[in-house]
């Protein structure tokens, strides 16, 4: 066969890297107490604005899980000046999108808009934050919508697995054991009076931060802010307490039964530290080597050798990150996890191989070459990862929410390059200990229970799907 007829050349040597650093925001504040982080990114015509509200889900009243979600969604469903329809149309005439989200760490309102219409969109955002209508009719609609969405979300095997893992890891009394957006029982109890009370208690400029990133050429941001978010008024507030975290991550298996499922969704996780932990860069590095990409240890076997899966990933997700200088000394928490789906018949063999990968890692550690490739990727992709204004704004807002310094991400890149193989090995082995991993399987129990039991991971419980 003469298919190879081209002239071959040796693999090229790279040129010299061009300097790039994670952007340093300029920190300031407005007279109403709102903290402002701004960052000029030339060429980014779509400006990203993140409003971080100091409202972790712990603040939701007992039995009303999901009320924070309804409240932030309702901010844009009508204001003192405009009905919900009018507000949405006005915003979209700017080419803007406005999203809201809540998490155990805090709440976020995210605006993206072409730079030329930033001023108008910020007027609307300020209106939403300052004079939300919270009409009974709109709150009722959002509650019904939310009730409709819950079964849609839980039908997704990945979402269902995440719900089960939280429930297994954390005690029922802890907010983080329960779904961020509530359950059918709790959402059904939400009304406009409760939403208004939550807003009055926790939404104010003094405990909020605005992150603004994009091409700000020709934008007099101070003047724009003064005329928009500067008019948002509110009182001062005491810092919120941070409840302690406890978790049960003794090895065991829970099968969420989905008769007839053609795949099993795996979610294997435990509790970990937050980004303040000195070993965080080592953990990031080690986790990448374990399951950051399809050439990492897990996919090298599960995907590229065995074909059991489209892809399995290991990751860390911060759930709580208090200020380490705060008086009560509360600790942070994350979930460390491995996630993916495998065809039903391969469930037992895939779990077995997965455990072999973890054991081999624990026995032999990472190689120097693995560590080097991981550093080159994690540090090297930064200019790509942060091309868009929204990516930069998202990371800056994460830093605010997690009580990290404004240069945290920039320093993380430095610390990754300084982390050696032994440190990365120690962090990933300690993070992903077999006896501390709770295994959630969303799949067909009749087919997967016996092969999974045979692996002897720990108790195997089957719950309804």
């Amino acid at each position: 066969m003469t298919d190879v007829t081209m002239n071959f050349h040796p693999q090229p040597v790279s040129g010299s890297p061009k300097p790039w650093a994670f952007p340093a925001p300029e920190r300031g504040g407005l007279g109403n107490g709102l903290t402002v982080l701004r960052c000029h990114r030339p060429g980014q015509q779509v400006v990203a604005v993140e409003i971080c509200l100091d409202m972790p889900l712990d603040v939701e009243p007992d039995g009303l899980d999901g009320i924070a979600t309804v409240m932030v969604d309702a901010l844009s469903e009508g204001t003192g000046q405009r009905t919900a329809e009018e507000f949405a149309a006005e915003l979209e005439r700017c080419g803007a999108t406005l999203d809201a989200d809540t998490d155990y760490l805090g709440a976020r309102v995210s605006l993206e808009v072409p730079a030329s219409r930033l001023a108008r969109a910020l007027e609307l955002l300020a209106e939403a934050l300052h004079t939300p209508a919270f009409s009974g009719s709109e709150i009722g609609r959002l509650v019904r919508n939310r009730l409709d969405e819950i079964p849609l979300e839980l039908a997704n095997p990945g979402r269902r697995a995440a719900k089960q893992l939280s429930q297994e890891l954390f005690p029922a009394s802890a907010r983080m054991s329960r779904p961020r957006k509530g359950t059918e029982d709790t959402v059904a109890r939400i009304d406009a009076a409760g939403v208004r009370a939550l807003y009055r208690a926790h939404v104010r400029p003094a405990t909020a931060t605005a992150v603004i990133v994009g091409d700000l050429t020709g934008v007099d941001l101070d003047a724009v802010l003064a005329g928009t978010l500067g008019g948002w008024a509110g009182d001062a507030a005491e810092p919120l307490p941070t409840p302690p975290v406890t978790a049960d991550d003794c090895a065991r298996v829970v099968i969420v039964d989905r008769p007839g499922a053609v795949q099993t969704q795996l979610l294997i996780g435990r509790i970990g530290p937050d980004r303040h932990d000195p070993a965080w860069p080592a953990l990031v590095l080690g986790t990448y080597c374990l399951g950051g990409t399809l050439t990492s240890r897990l996919d090298r076997v599960l995907r590229e050798e065995k074909g059991y899966t489209y892809g399995v990933r290991a990751f860390e997700q911060v759930l709580r990150s208090p200020d380490p200088h705060a008086a009560n000394g509360a600790t942070g928490a994350s979930v460390l996890a491995i996630s993916g789906s495998v065809d039903t018949a391969s469930t037992g063999p895939a779990l077995d191989d997965l455990r072999t990968v973890l054991r081999t890692l624990a026995a032999e550690g990472l190689t120097e070459a693995e560590r080097d490739t991981a550093v080159q990727n994690l540090v090297g992709v930064a200019p790509l990862k942060y091309e868009r204004a929204a990516s930069v704004a998202g990371t800056l807002a994460d830093q605010v929410e997690q009580h990290l310094a404004d240069d945290y991400q920039a320093q993380l890149y430095v610390r990754l390059t300084e982390t050696d193989t032994a440190e990365a090995t120690a962090a990933v082995i300690s993070g992903f200990q077999e006896k501390r991993l709770v295994t959630i399987l969303v799949g067909d129990a009749a087919q997967i229970k016996a092969p999974v039991e045979a692996l002897g991971i720990g108790g195997v419980e089957v719950v309804a799907g």
Binding site: H9, W20, E304, S339, Q376, V381, A382, L384
Partner: protein
Amino acid sequence: MGHAATQQAGSGGLTATEHRLDNGLRLVLSEDHLTPVAAVCLWYDVGSRQEVEGHTGLAHLFEHLMFQGSAQVKGNGHFELVQGAGGSLNGSTSFERTNYYETMPAHQLELALWLEADRMGSLLAALDEESMENQRDVVKNERRQRYDNVPYGTAFERMTALAYPEGHPYHHTPIGSMADLDAVTLDDARAFFRANYAPNNAVLAVVGDIDPEQTLRWVEKYFGSIPSHDGKVPPRDGTLPDVIGAELRVEIQEEVPARALMAGYRMPRDGTRECDAAEVALTVLGDGMSSRLYNRLVRRDRTAISAGFGLLRLAGAPSLGWLDVKASGDAGIPQIGAAVDEELARLGAQAPAAEEMERAQALLERGWLDQLSTAAGRADALCRYAVLFGDPQLAFTAIDRVLDISAEEVRAIAAARLRPDNRAVLVYDQVTSEEPADPAAGPAGAAGENDKPEGTGR
């Protein structure tokens, strides 16, 4: 138009130059130095529309094989080298093209060009049974994960099977059927490569922080000696009448979390002014939180959880206007369907108000600005217009054409196309878990198949 958010709404000040190598490879270069990133994007003019009965899924499976090594690149070396250089990469397959892309730190650009050239010129030197069998299993698991094991996952596949007749090149989707994936052989893959993966059947775009002259020299060096080849089988003609002529309808009994009404309307081909008018019309009707259908179904009638209308632009066949409504609570599909019909008829009868046009066109412009915000997005747009329409420069004026559409053109296209006799309808009804789900349920997917799941976390 008065609605543009920027002075140069279309190009954002960008330009591109075009080159053609002796072997027929077309090259598009676009330089900007805002961030030290270079995007490489390679479109091959082959997609699932070239597949014939019994061989569905071949183009996409082949795309996976392109990551399994070539003469100078061992095994997973393509992924390892790009990621080790701080780059990101992937590939995807749609009806009309297969693309491969790397975004690199600017100083690693040459590596990406070397890698793409190596597999374009020498893939078959490395392709073997082992990688074929492995990737066959991976793709079958991709199909299970993205289509067969999620609610409504097979909707897109069912829709194209209904909207494009038996034997039509767009009747099946890129993911293919399990049976066909099982049947494909190594010889099929080799023949597919020889027919379609030639420099004269591809467009390469390099965008971002580049030196155009140096880049051209590298492209000549690495790609220049790859022989051109004319073995390509042209795609079958995708022409269909403008209007289907009678409603096509399938009722699906499946265990889904909410009833759903989906419809595919036959729309004008991409590249025509009517297609741009259709996109504005569908945006007025079904994009965003204040579209006509959202306001009607979600806000006022409160019969739906979500209501959206989007356009799948196709150049080689009629485009598809895709309506997707998920019912709220006990709301019935007939009630929702009647409201949709009223709204479509209303748009066909009267041109939308200036404020609605402004809203729709601002959202469409915003989508374009989002695409321009990354080097990879710009590179993909240039390849798209070069491959499908023969002129990459059309990318820079595409949004201007959309902003030039008048309210009357929107009304006219709605009247002509958004009619009950021009749609394929899927109705999802709920069954309880005691009843058997439709055993004939097959898989389906989105318009494109990504090769690798990237990213994790929240």
